[in-house]
Symmetry: D2
Subunit: 240 residues, 4 copies
């Protein structure tokens, strides 16, 4: 059965910053779509902030298995009602991948209860992202670590709940460490946070980064077994 993937992007830096435009001329969402489209079991669409309803109509949300989310400078412009709909859908089983600066998105806070705060620095530092779980489906084909020559530095402490599965911890040449990849169960849905992807670096052209995304999409897609049930009134006792 195909996996219905929706890639959401704020799509602002790429329109206004010449440097970013050169790296991602059609936007981060199109770069990701291009990379992921090699997978014949993925059915991909994109959505962006400036579309009506941010491109996330009820029809789109209900028919998405896994949502990728990239946002940064315009977190505050994402409408609360859309955030609420997406979060509800995650609780009912949709997978969500929060990318890079989505650590500070409304969705991070709504889904984890935490602030997503961290320390950061833009110094073109080297990143080594260590594979903590060499037999986990998300790290299939990754090997010991992913080397990224230049990325924005993110550092601990990272304001998140205890992850259910801690997959990657990163080293930055400036002396920081960071939990770069982790899974949290949100009722019937799974959230995967994945740190690479600052707009000024071509991290979404790194084959290993893309491999992780492909693996993660398959890992966090809904099981499809059952639908979530809201609070219910049971009139009769189960034990009679």
């Amino acid at each position: 059965m195909p996996v219905r993937v929706t890639i959401w992007n704020e799509y602002r830096h790429e329109l206004t910053d010449e440097y970013v435009k050169k790296i991602y001329p059609d936007g981060i969402h199109e770069a990701l779509r291009n990379q992921l489209s090699s997978e014949t079991d993925f059915v991909i669409r994109t959505a962006t902030l400036d579309q009506p309803e941010h491109g996330l109509t009820d029809e789109v949300i209900e028919n998405t298995d896994v949502l990728l989310w990239w946002g940064h400078m315009a977190h505050g412009q994402v409408k609360d009602e859309i955030v609420k709909k997406v979060a509800d859908r995650v609780r009912r089983g949709m997978g969500i991948i929060l990318l890079h600066s989505a650590h500070a998105s409304k969705l991070m806070q709504v889904l984890t209860g935490c602030s997503g705060s961290l320390s950061w620095r833009e110094q073109n530092e080297k990143q080594i992202m260590w594979n903590m779980k060499p037999t986990h489906p998300i790290t299939e084909g990754i090997g010991e670590y992913i080397l990224i020559e230049h990325e924005e530095t993110y550092g601990e402490p990272f304001g998140i709940p205890n992850p259910d599965e801690l997959i990657f911890i990163s080293w930055f040449s400036g002396g920081n460490v960071f939990r770069s990849g982790w899974v949290k169960n949100i009722e019937n849905g799974k959230l995967f946070y994945f740190q690479p992807g600052h707009e000024t670096f071509p991290s979404y052209k790194n084959p290993q980064v893309i491999r992780v995304l492909k693996n993660a999409i398959r890992y966090i897609k809904p099981s499809g077994y059952t639908e979530h049930v809201d609070s219910i009134w049971q009139k009769e006792p189960v034990n009679r």
Copy 2:
């Protein structure tokens, strides 16, 4: 050092329902204050929904170490801005105890990312609340279990994240089980959910229930060591 406790109560059932009024004539908040006031290290105040700012001014929120929260029929009337302030304070270190039907409060959802959904039934069933952690500070003096002759039945599945510490699981005579007491770390603060306390039963007069609350207040109060730090920009690398 004293623990500054604020007891928040929706305070509606007790004003409108004669049956409830008989059990808690001055409201659940005053009943709890009365029970907790035996502890000389507690400095207690109360706050209710219909007070200005729900009784939770910035001054109150900032000077509270542990907040108890009872709400039920009026969850929707709690203002989002107050919820946000309380949640931010928890992330910075305040302890919070969500009582009984607060499973469906805005605060539960904002702090856990989950719905708090469950199944329920009002049949005056017997409840046996098992102590899962006999050496935990929250269960000091409790023994093997707490027997409550009549309570509202709450049942799994309970829409919550994996607790960091699972303290009580309950048995109900009608055949249900329920995670009745658990702790979740919310960044620098601790959340304790505690299930007993339906408004039509005198559970807050049960000495063991009160003992758990006293223990929990001391367990989840802020460590006082450090204040939370928001996301920060580190201009200089740590490794030079």
Copy 3:
């Protein structure tokens, strides 16, 4: 790819106790093999305590994807060297299902670090096993709960580490609750503990119990992606 399943049984009660013999005339291992053999992707063998090396030669251990383990009266007779080999294999990726009274087996203690202690009672009580994770692969097709008319009662507190995934909590008519199904990651392998199966009751003929076992075997089988690596000496720094 087929899943290579080995069913290990102590096989003592069935030989010496007429009552048990009637329920499981060929032993619990053969009853389980019979039930699981409907799955065409399972390749099943059995092994018992009184075989040479308990039936668990290196060849068997290395060529097992998922090991089921039933033991009770003869835990102490299982050789430490076999326990060690099985545990090492789990750490390298094999799945293991500890059944019922295996809560007190050497393997439980060696793999969890905990005692597996609990309270118990044989009173033919009714058991209701609640499905805590309605969208989890292990509960596919199970519905809200599994009703078992008569089982041995197991009660909390259960001396185990925090499960990574808590799948079932049970209710017993005598007033107890018990974490009846849970998953713990043991390095590269997964352990599933599953409580039903006292030798005097036909629980392994219950279709829902069997369904859980089938689901669990597929869930905890090795990912096959990578082999575990022992502690290694890295002569050269990764960052050069």
Copy 4:
């Protein structure tokens, strides 16, 4: 009430290696005792491998609240029966701190079920140990990080279960990261693993390292509320 601390040391390197002898002339255990003796609420004794029963008689084990354990070259010489007694005591409530190369000790494996495997390198690298939990009792007074100019490099993946509390993650100049400080609940006892302390570096003279040990001893000492109960037979139902 005083905390009864026992410091156990293998005490081999210091007797045979001139370089180590210069750093810890009376052994690591005496260096630690010296550092910890500033705390007037600690009652400290030491024990070493070559003493009868490794210095860990039943009397010592039963009267220890927190045991510190340093071992390296002689893990295999620690008698299984002593390991068993210590592990049982932890399950009943004693705290244990496994130091540095104790990652590969029998106690690590017996208490966690995992191998404790890791990668390592001796290159006198710089270590920055990040404080992940700035309001946790174990990090009181520590600040953002601990800088250790030279330590042995330990690297992920670290073969351990999911920690219940992850306190420190370290950065090493050679490019590795490592979970350097974490707590795991072992039934009624707490295990704290703490990585600094290779025998060829004076890490146990670092005031911040010592501060963490002092904090941890107080954090993991037994609650004293209840004694652990072994598996028990409950003849009568709780629900009558």
